[in-house]
């Protein structure tokens, strides 16, 4: 058994944590906004897959990362538009609607992949996003590369994280959104339009989920394979509960989650005797644990999952 190597662990964290955490964080941030407005979107898994396939295809044919991300966001928003329509306008059961979207996204992404790349002799691959190096700061030992040597999207994500936090808690619109999530009737009586807020929050949430899928393909993996999210969408939803509907806590949760992947990478060195399938189970067991810790001691948005019957 090799001794504990700081270097190995450091690189494992660098390579493992952040990239693994980002897709889930993106989806979780979107779902946080969604749930703060009272909408439960379980279709995140399918939307992430749709985001992944559209981003991959766009990047493959246009080699334009920005465009790929934009399209992934747009597709994600479109998908969740349907969820919003079912949940807000038709006042249907949100669990069922979300599950339907999951299936549609799951299947459609596979169909599209076969459509575009079915005839390729070998699996198509794209060049993943390069990491940037912020001068000087990235030279700080260890954390330098960790924080300041990431791909550009990472910084965008951090900024959106901060913005979402600011938005929810320091702006009037964010407060209105949270009010809609607590009691849409109260919001309406005060002059806030609950349906509008719910639609927009839902579409933003879906867009973020699309971005999450896109990030997974474009930054982490570099290719698309069917069902590549493997439950990431649901883990994102779990993170929202863990984070008690607050973006900063969700961020911490996503980092913890990413850290679990460190085990993957250090497994050969430290856990040779453990069959790799058990290591693969870890993220899911971890999710069980964190959602258990969250429990419902936190106050969830009171109208979460409930349709709003006006007049």
């Amino acid at each position: 058994m090799t001794s504990l190597s700081v270097d190995l662990i450091a690189s494992a964290i660098l390579i493992g944590t952040i990239p693994r955490a980002m897709p889930i964080l993106l989806a979780a941030l979107g779902e946080t906004l969604d749930q703060n407005a009272g909408i439960l979107n379980l279709g995140v898994e399918g939307i992430m897959l749709m985001g992944a396939i559209t981003a991959f295809t766009t990047e493959y044919f246009t080699e334009n990362f920005v465009l790929a991300f934009i399209i992934a966001f747009a597709i994600g928003s479109l998908f969740s538009f349907f969820h919003a329509f079912a949940s807000v306008s038709l006042k249907a059961d949100q669990v069922v609607s979300g599950t339907a979207l999951w299936f549609i996204g799951w299947g459609l992404s596979g169909v599209l992949y076969r459509f575009y790349f079915g005839n390729s002799p070998s699996p198509p691959v794209i060049q993943t996003l390069h990491h940037v190096s912020i001068p000087y700061l990235s030279n700080i030992p260890f954390i330098g590369r960790l924080i300041f040597g990431q791909d550009p999207i990472f910084y965008t994500v951090i900024m959106s994280l901060l913005f979402i936090h600011y938005f929810l808690f320091k702006t009037r619109i964010g407060l209105n959104l949270r009010t809609v999530g607590e009691n849409p009737l109260v919001a309406k009586a005060v002059g806030v339009n609950p349906s509008l807020y719910r639609y927009l929050a839902c579409m933003f949430g879906g867009g973020m989920a699309g971005l999450g899928g896109a990030y997974l393909v474009l930054t982490v993996v570099g290719s698309f394979f069917y069902d590549m999210t493997l439950g990431a969408g649901f883990i994102a939803v779990a993170l929202v509960y863990f984070g008690k509907w607050k973006p900063l806590r969700v961020f911490v949760g996503s980092l913890l989650f990413g850290a679990v992947y460190v085990f993957y990478l250090t497994a050969e060195t430290y856990f040779q005797y453990v069959p790799y399938q058990f290591i693969e189970m870890l993220p899911y067991l971890f999710t069980l644990i964190i959602i258990l810790i969250a429990g419902t001691r936190a106050h969830s948005p009171a109208s979460l999952g409930k349709p709003f019957h006006e007049e």
Binding site: F82, K91, W106, V111, V237, E280, M281
Partner: protein, 348 residues
Amino acid sequence: MNYLRLGQIFLSSLLAVLAGSILLSLFGIPPITGLTSLFYGGFFSEYGLNQTLQTMTPLLIMGIGLSVTFTARFWNIGGQGQYVMGSIISTWVGLSLSSVLPQSLLILVVLFSAFFAGALWSLPATLMKIYFGVNEVITTLMLNFVAVFLLDYLVVGPLQGPQSKALNAPASAPIPAKDMLGSLLPGGAIGYGLILAVFLAVIFFVLLNYTNFGYELKLMGQGYEVSSYAGVDTRKNIILAMSISGGIAGIAGMLQVFQINGVLLPQVFSDITTSYGYVAIPVALIASLNPIAIIISSLFFSGILTGAYSLELQYGIPIDIVTTLYGLVMMFTLIGMYLNLERLIKKT
């Protein structure tokens, strides 16, 4: 069952399949041609019908199991994991006791072990919901992944059979032929499993609509406030309902090994065609959780699956289209259920 509702569901499903068939044109197949092949391949060819009835069995069984928990609005997404655990334990028990017990007794023991395995696997999520209020969708789902990985390990590890080791193909030792559940008709279409499933459908229909237990489940589905007011012991009931649901899923897993495959095979995640635990969800939902109607919806869903296979063989259309179709059927039936009421009100 309301006839208007029935017609609505039927219409919505058809519309959904129609909508999905538009995707066929991506692959150069005109939708109507594709649809016809789909239905022919699924229902009207001899081989297809055979396959459909075979696939229908696990779907029907698991759909029935879900109807119990879904009635109480407890979303058991963990059917897949319960199914896998049932298949694992029943294989292990079956192989271990195959030489010891006579066939009839062995089948019973194996059946029970599958049921217990599935029921036990459903327990953690149930307890977490009862005592900690944790969302059951996520917990049941996570356990699915754990179960599948466990299966992955076992078929190349402790449970690997000698032939498969030689072939380097992951699988368990095969179930001895004498212990396989034979079929009733020549050609092997309708096995004991399907008969059992239809039988279960009737039993559960009675259970849900004519017993106290079923009534209490319905109250629970209406909300914790009213069900506790009515004196319902929600904890006991949900544990019971989930155990039944999980146990049934376990039995489905056992049947797959003992009747169809003959060996325990690893589960491929992306393979919707064997992910009965997930497909059972729309199967139960579009039948409005009515076990008798689930017979029809499981037939429909498995027919589409078989038909999609034939489409793949004939035209090279990816099997993933099936998942899309399933999702569309769910969406359309959901919209169909809620649409008329709301639109009418908006118009006045």
